[in-house]
């Protein structure tokens, strides 16, 4: 667990970056710091690994003041990922990932074996390990950056706008990857971004910052979207809060109807029972049928499928087999919202965590 106790940073020229922050970053969860540029979020992040020394207050890591720890040793135990990846150009990918293990004195063989494991973990093919960073795309470099940060299995991961420099499609993929990794590894992640959607998507806890590191609101994503603390936070969240909130509610609570007909539309299935499309009143087949996976997707994904469907019905499919298990109407999905919202509101984080796995539409 990381704890900030009145941590402040005043520059020698008198400007104030952070005016005194009290914050708890719970262990094994993802905490996202979000705010406009210049709000001090990066400074806060860097106080943890002593890249910035607070001018007042202190930062505790598992109860120990980081100021009392050896900076290099402390940093080797904290993963750090930044926007430009910062890979060492002169080292091949595998050796880049093995940097901290080497620094910790692991032998070459063990460090490389570990690096190869990490490469696989972040979803890169083994032959990438022999490449130089300049031979990788931006998204691949960022994955290597994450692998490098995780190589020595640090309990804490600091991420400073790690996905801001890649295009939206790649960014979505990287976010998904991070959610998957975190579900597996349970690191204490402190994540900085200026993108509120990213914050809501990734965070178990979201901390909205104003100037000088003042906390405007600290809440789980659902609470943040449904009840912003004040006008400023509302403005920062932007329009469409309600619909975006649907992305946080799991579709597990949706009541499914049978695979029947609706207003003259009939669901067409293949031999395996997988949906192929909707047959209209005129007998024309329109496919493919928009689907969602109740166990994995959010209400947002379910509603999206229903809106796109010619019959107005979203088809629920089994994640493994792809077989249709039921349909649900738009009204049915919104009906599930009341119950779902109540559930997400009472429990923080973990219950919404499953819903945060993005609604992967079937191709």
């Amino acid at each position: 667990m990381i704890r900030f106790e009145g941590a402040a940073k005043r520059h020698p020229d008198g400007t104030v970056a952070v005016e005194g922050l009290d914050l708890e970053v719970p262990a094994g969860r993802t905490t996202v710091l979000v705010g406009p540029s210049g709000c001090g979020k990066t400074t806060i992040l860097r106080m943890v690994n002593r890249m910035v020394t607070p001018t007042a207050g202190r930062v505790l890591l598992d109860g120990a003041d980081v100021a009392g720890l050896d900076a290099a040793k402390l940093r080797r135990g904290i993963g750090y990922v930044i926007q430009q990846a910062g890979l060492f150009p002169q080292r091949r990918v595998l050796d880049n990932i093995a940097t901290v293990p080497y620094l910790l004195g692991w032998d070459r063989k063990r460090a490389r074996a570990r690096a190869a494991e990490m490469l696989e973990l972040v979803g890169l093919p083994p032959e990438t390990g022999r490449r130089y960073p300049f031979q990788l795309s931006g998204g691949q470099q960022q994955r290597v950056g994450v692998a490098r940060a995780l190589a020595a299995d640090p309990p804490v991961l600091l991420m400073d706008e790690p996905f801001s420099a890649v295009d939206p499609v790649v960014r979505a993929g990287l976010q998904e990857e991070l959610l998957r990794l975190q579900a597996e590894l349970h690191k204490t992640v402190l994540f900085v971004t200026h993108d509120i959607d990213e914050a809501v998507r990734l965070g178990d806890q979201v901390v909205v910052l104003r100037d000088h590191g003042h906390i405007a609101q600290r809440a789980d994503p659902h609470t943040l979207l449904t009840s912003p603390a004040d006008q400023d936070v509302t403005a920062f969240l932007g329009p469409g809060r309600g619909l975006r909130g649907l992305g946080l509610v799991p579709a597990t609570g949706v009541e499914l109807d049978g695979l029947g007909r609706a207003d003259g539309w009939e669901l067409a299935l293949d031999a395996e029972g997988r949906p192929t499309g909707w047959t209209g009143p005129d007998g024309q087949l329109q496919g493919p049928a928009p689907v969602f996976v109740p166990a994995r997707d959010s209400l947002h994904a379910a509603l999206d499928a229903a809106v796109l469907s010619p019959s107005g019905l979203a088809v629920a499919v089994d994640a493994e087999t792809g077989r249709a298990v039921g349909t649900v109407s738009r009204a049915g999905i919104l009906g599930a919202l009341a119950a779902g919202a109540a559930a997400a509101g009472t429990s923080t984080g973990t219950s919404a965590g499953t819903a945060k796995v993005p609604g992967g539409r079937q191709p």
Partner: protein, 229 residues
């Protein structure tokens, strides 16, 4: 003089061994100083990067050194190191190479992206270790670019040493001029240029082999600039 051809091939054919010896002597006089300078320049560059306040005076000294005319320095050194000795020619050449290599090293280290510096720091590198293990290799393309300029300049400058009696291939210019015989002069110019060219190519090749990432970096920078058109 009009009846004298630009090149008498017969003279070259009968002086091959002589030309070879002069070329070797020239290579030693010109390139050993560059090597010495490299050995001095890298630590000095690291020092100037670690303590930026040091760089201003160091840069000033080398700016002035670079402005010193070769002949003049040779002459000034004669009372100490003797007429027509290798040392007299090699000391100034070392200084010239330093004047190129120290700024090249410092520029290279300064051009290392901030992101790289920060991620190294965040992974637990101390300042010195980071400079040597992360930043210096990242700056290698700059150092090699400096090395190429230094080596080529040194090879052409060394010829001036002939005026004080020790200039390798430069001797051919004096000889040819005194006898109004252009053949040795032409041979000298061609051999000096060829030696420079071979050295330059060897450095480029060495960079490709030893630091493929840096060879790419330079190409990428050039492409990026070209693409702005």
């Amino acid at each position: 003089m009009t009846d004298e051809p630009l090149v008498r091939w017969g003279w070259i054919g009968s002086h091959l061994a002589y030309l070879r010896d002069l070329t070797l002597d020239h290579a030693v006089i010109a390139l050993v100083p560059v090597l010495i300078a490299l050995v001095i320049a890298v630590p000095l560059g690291l020092l100037c990067t670690r303590f930026p306040r040091l760089y201003q005076p160091v840069a000033l000294v080398f700016n002035v050194v670079y402005a010193l005319p070769g002949v003049a320095v040779f002459v000034v050194l004669i009372p100490y190191t003797g007429l027509a000795t290798r040392t007299t020619v090699m000391i100034p050449l070392t200084c010239y190479a330093l004047a190129v290599l120290v700024p090249a090293t410092v520029d290279g280290l300064r051009a290392v992206p901030e992101a790289l510096r920060q991620s190294a720091t965040a992974m637990g590198y101390g300042p010195w270790r980071r400079l040597a293990a992360v930043e210096l290799p990242a700056a290698v393309s700059y150092v090699v670019a400096g090395l190429r300029v230094a080596a080529v300049s040194s090879i052409s400058l060394a010829a001036v040493g002939a005026l004080i009696g020790r200039g390798g291939l430069g001797y051919l210019f004096i000889d040819g001029f005194q006898r109004t015989f252009p053949t040795p002069i032409v041979a000298g110019i061609v051999l000096v240029a060829a030696l420079a060219l071979v050295t330059d190519l060897a450095l480029v090749l060495a960079l490709r082999l030893l630091a493929p990432w840096a060879a790419h970096e330079r190409r990428a920078t050039r492409r990026q600039r070209g693409a702005t058109q």
